[in-house]
Symmetry: C3
Subunit: 128 residues, 3 copies
C-alpha cells in the first residue's frame, strides 16, 4: 500500500488525483483500490470538462435536505459527513500494463467537503 | 481482465448485467470488480422487481437539483455525469465456486444515463 | 470469505460493523471487501459522532423524491431499494498488520433500510 497526501485549497473542491494514483501502480495488470480514511472527503470518478467540478459541488449542495442536524459542535458540518457516506470513501478499478483503465473523459477524484485540509489517500494495487 | 460491451437502448436504462459478469468468472472463490470506463454510466446492484428499474431512474431524476449547470456544449447533460459520480463506476463483490454471491433479489446493473450507446464493462476476478 | 450475521433492530438503522469486520482479518496487509447480499441494506463508511447516525437516516429520507413508485406489493418500500442502490452494497478498504486502515472518526457501517432483519455480511480479505 502506498500513502499519499493531497492538500486541498477550499471548503469544497473536486481534486483530480488520477496522476497521483497512476504513479503508484506497479507494472502488469490488476485492480487498484483508492481509499481515503476521512469522513469529510470521498473518492469516486468524474468527468472534468470545464466547470463540471463546480457543477458536482453545486449538485451535492442541492441534494442536502433542509433539516436540523444532530451532529455535535457544528450542525452545519453534518452534511459533509453525510455526503461523504453516500459517495463513499473508495473506488476500485482495473489497471493494465501499469496504467489506469479509465475512460477518455474519466478521472479519479477526491471530493473535499470540509477543507482546506491535508487529506490522506491510500492506494493498494493487487495483481489479477 | 475481461472486457464486454453492453448496448443500451434508451437515454436512461437500468441493464441487468449479472449473467454477463457471471460468465467471466473463473472457478473457485474471490472478489470480482465490475467497472465501467465512462462518465455517463454507473455500476451498482439493484432489486429488479417489475417497474423497479424505472423507479430507480425516476428517483435519480428527482434528486437532481434545479440549477444552471456549467458543463459545456449541453448543460442539460451535466446531471448525467453528476449522478454517475455519486453512484460510482464500479462494484466489488465476492464469488464462490465460480458463482456471484448475490442475494436472491439482487442483480449487478449498469445504469445508463446518456444512452443509447455501446458501453464497455471491465470484469476483473481476483482469487481470495 | 467469512460470512457474518447482523441483527438490526428497527426499520432504519446505521450499524457500526467495524469490529465485526476487523475480527475476520488475517495478519498482514491487503484489501478487504465488505459486501451485503441484500437490496434493502447498504455498506459504506461513516462518522458516528452522537446523533450522526440519525442524521444520516434523516438525510436519506429527505432526498427521496415525492413520486408514485411502481415497485409491486408495497410501493412505499421502493425507496429502500433505491437508496441501497445509490449507496452501494459494498466497500473496499485497505488493512495493515491485520487492522482496518480506517480514519480516527471513520467506521464501516451497514445501513439498514427495511428492518428489523437478520442481514448477511460477506467479508473477503485479499493480501496485497
Amino acid at each position: 500500500m502506498q500513502t499519499i497526501t493531497v492538500r486541498t485549497k477550499s471548503k469544497k473542491q473536486v481534486v483530480n488525483i488520477s496522476d497521483l494514483v497512476a504513479q503508484q501502480l506497479p507494472k502488469g495488470d490488476g485492480v487498484v483500490t483508492v481509499f481515503t480514511p476521512h469522513t469529510g472527503a470521498a473518492i469516486t470518478t468524474a468527468n472534468l470538462d470545464p466547470g463540471t467540478d463546480l457543477d458536482l459541488l453545486d449538485f451535492l449542495d442541492g441534494i442536502v435536505p433542509d433539516r436540523a442536524w444532530r451532529h455535535p459542535h457544528n450542525s452545519k458540518h453534518a452534511p459533509d459527513h453525510l455526503l461523504a457516506s453516500i459517495i463513499g470513501p473508495s473506488v476500485s478499478l482495473p489497471y493494465q500494463n501499469g496504467q489506469l483503465a479509465l475512460g477518455i473523459w474519466q478521472y479519479v477524484v477526491l471530493i473535499e467537503l470540509d477543507g482546506p485540509r491535508e487529506r490522506t489517500v491510500m492506494i493498494t494495487a493487487q495483481k489479477a
